[in-house]
């Protein structure tokens, strides 16, 4: 058997050195060519390829004179061209035939062109002509002199305000398309052009799918769109099940890129990127850029929720929230509850979570032992029940919402030993977002805030207990109940608040246990409206998206 030494004892059959790249070209190189240069040519990396910059091609394509290649996408090449008959500059997208241009591919192209041509909007690049020529399909569109959004962001970081303004416009453009039953499905910075005036224009409806058609163009093997800006449901190939929320996701990813300079997910390969889209939580944009406003980060992350139901349900809602931010008004998107945030953190850090759980168990054991020894008293720090926000479409529900808050306040006020600020004092803080400021003014340690949406005979309520001293959520709950259950909800909220503020009832003195029980009982019994004992049922996850309201 030949050893390595013997194998290597052969004369070096050097052929020559490549005059372009300097690599040694051996005799086994195909046709005597430099294989490195051949591969680089295949990638389009050689100097005169023009792949990464405009280069004159000087070619004819029917009525069009191709001037330079300006883009390359999954379905075709885009040229800057001159339409000879009208002597105007256009952008010409061409898809040729060959192995990559299967019938599904061509059908998709036709859908793209027809869908885009039907839309007339100042922020959508207008289509001039659609056609086929010598086995190739093409469409010509208005040439936007400017640059792609990704190029602009790369050149110069964009201010948060500017980013919010742009995204709001783009979101409304997408909403327009959705109202005409057209999804974009490939929203990314590369498909957003900025003209000379800095106005955005949406292009490349390459994956537009008319939702009223039963299309079989895409199957589970074809995942269309750019992975970094693709929604999880799109990445999984659920083309037929896409909703407007998929485009909302992509808008959020674009926004993330504008704010941080990077997409939310970018793996080394398409495979890795898709895996991240499906499995990973996006990093808070504020960790990449601490200057990003908290509310903008909230808006961005809401768009990037894995569950479509948790995003803005329409692009318009997204645009509306951005406009609120621009007007310095409170946004509707909520910071995710402490439980949801914890859940996402656990998914990101399973090992640390396990260790932390062990530590917590030990700490609870020690803490319980200490509590049994020294007892625990109800803290005399106080709570203020802030006016709940009315998210209902019907403005007349405001009085219902106020009444709900008032009932909870009343229940808590009857708990002995618990300082509860009066309704009169708290109402002035309606809409105020600075928790610490409120707590300092009212001299309380805790604040209870919430939002209510009444739809038909159901209410959706979100309540949060905040420790104003540390500005942290102590407790949060979402309720989705039938209207008759509102009393039980109020009681449950009050009970939970008391539980949080009271001592743990376990192994304490009999007298202490009795006092705690009586407090809980008083919570249950206090209600002038309760004709029958309230019916308690475990809270169910809120089904609607927070801040989901159309103006």
């Amino acid at each position: 058997m030949l050893g390595d030494a013997q194998l290597s004892n052969r004369p070096d059959k050097t052929h020559r050195v490549c005059a372009k790249c300097g690599v040694t070209v051996f005799a086994d190189s195909p046709r005597g060519f430099c294989s490195v240069c051949l591969f680089r040519s295949g990638l389009g990396l050689l100097d005169d390829d023009g792949q990464y910059g405009p280069s004159p091609i000087d070619m004819e394509f029917g009525d069009y004179e191709l001037l330079e290649e300006i883009g390359r996408g999954g379905q075709g090449v885009v040229y800057r061209a001159r339409q000879k008959s009208l002597n105007r500059t256009v952008a010409l997208k061409v898809i040729g035939l060959g192995r990559w241009s299967s019938k599904p591919h061509l059908r998709r192209f036709r859908h793209e062109a027809e869908a885009a041509a039907s839309l007339e909007h100042p922020q959508i690049v207008p289509i001039h002509e659609i056609g086929e020529r010598d086995g190739s399909c093409y469409f010509s569109m208005k040439f936007i002199e400017g640059g792609r959004l990704d190029e602009v962001v790369k050149r110069e970081p964009m201010s948060a305000r500017r980013a919010a303004e742009l995204l709001a416009k783009i979101a409304r453009t997408v909403q327009f398309a959705h109202e005409h039953r057209i999804f974009h499905r490939d929203i990314k910075p590369g498909n957003i052009l900025l003209d000379k005036n800095g106005e955005p224009h949406l292009t490349d409806f390459g994956l537009a799918l008319l939702i009223e058609q039963e299309s079989t163009i895409t199957n589970s093997f074809e995942v269309l769109g750019t992975p970094s800006y693709m929604s999880p449901e799109q990445a999984m190939g659920h083309a037929k099940e896409l909703t407007p929320a998929a485009d909302v996701y992509s808008l959020g990813a674009v926004f993330y890129h504008m704010l941080t300079g990077e997409p939310p997910f970018a793996g080394g390969t398409t495979y890795e990127t898709i895996r991240m889209v499906l499995e990973s939580e996006p990093r808070n944009p504020r960790t990449r850029n601490a200057k990003i406003d908290l509310d903008l980060a909230i808006i961005c992350l809401k768009c990037l929720e894995k569950n479509p139901a948790k995003r803005y349900s329409t692009a318009k809602e997204l645009a509306d929230d951005l406009d609120r931010w621009l007007r310095h008004e409170p946004i509707h998107a909520r910071r995710i509850g402490v439980f949801n945030r914890a859940g996402k953190w656990v998914r990101r850090n399973p090992v640390i979570t396990t260790l932390a759980a062990v530590i917590v168990v030990l700490a609870v054991a020690v803490g319980t032992m200490l509590w049994r020894t020294f007892g625990q008293r109800l803290p005399q720090s106080g709570i203020a029940v802030l006016p709940f926000e009315n998210l209902s479409d019907n403005k007349t529900d405001a009085s219902f919402v106020d009444g709900l808050q008032d009932d909870i306040l009343t229940k808590l006020a009857k708990i002995s030993g618990l300082k509860v600020i009066s309704r009169t004092s708290v109402m002035q803080y309606r809409g105020e977002r600075n928790m610490r400021k409120i707590a300092d003014a009212l001299r309380v340690s805790h604040l209870l805030e919430g939002s209510v949406r009444k739809t038909g005979d159901r209410i959706h309520l979100n309540a949060q207990l905040i420790d104003a001293r540390t500005d942290t959520h102590v407790w949060a709950e979402q309720y989705d109940r039938a209207l008759p259950d509102v009393f039980a909800v109020q009681t449950d909220i009050a009970q939970k608040v008391v539980n949080r503020l009271s001592a743990k009832i376990s192994g304490g003195k009999e007298s202490d246990r009795g006092k705690a029980n009586s407090r809980l009982t008083s919570v249950r019994n206090v209600s002038s409206r309760e004709a029958t004992p309230p019916r308690y049922s475990p809270p169910r996850p809120l089904r609607y998206t927070e801040g989901n309201r159309s103006d």
């Binding site: 052969r10 070096d12 005799a27 086994d28 051949l38 591969f39 035939l97 010598d134 190739s136």
Partner: protein
Amino acid sequence: MLDRSRPPNDKGSLSTISGTTQSGAVAFATTHWSIVLTAQGESPAAREALEKLCRTYWWPLYGFVRRQGSKPDEAQDLTQGFFALLLERKDLDAVRREKGRLRCYLLTSLKNFLAKARRRELALKRGGGQALVPLDELIARERADLEPADSLTAERIFERRWALTLLEQVLTRLEREYQSVGNAKLFDCLKEFLCDEPGCRSQAELAVELGMTENAVKQAFHRLRQRYRQLLRDEISQTVAVPGDVEDELRHFISVLQT
């Protein structure tokens, strides 16, 4: 005219690429390797696809075996035996773990195979007489003694040969396309521009030689290069399962051949 379906000619047709793999908008279900990856259980299509891929890429595998220290006939037996065993396999879970690149999968499988192989079992596993490793070509290449072996590891030889095999496949396909429409001479003249090495004749000089305008030569080369790129990516796509891996493979080969 814009036409990429017909073989290139110099009558003014323009070829374009229908797309890179960046957005993944490609019907990968039809590529050989993706068929193998998605085959469930015994699938004639998967077996045929895998066999075709093995026939194409036996040379780099053989080179690996040789570099591990086997004599030519021994290496041929081992490589042949490896292919036979591969084609009998029904469990492709390991393939999916390799993220779907045929090159990585074959190398890993071959290493495992070599570690376990014994000569008696190889004699029994010669694929029922079906020779996937062409002996005459093997001998010719061995005698030509063409490649550097001094400082290359077995893996490096494998990677290098894989890249060169791929290129040879592409150039052969491209040449055949031009030959089929009577443009063999045009191909012979234009192909040298693919590498754009200094010292080659200019396109203007070629235009004079071929009796064409310089612009026509320019266009003809543009079509050839576009078609070359398509075929190169197509060839790579046969060995990967994810569209985005095509670009990765291309860059990987460049780095392999540069060292």
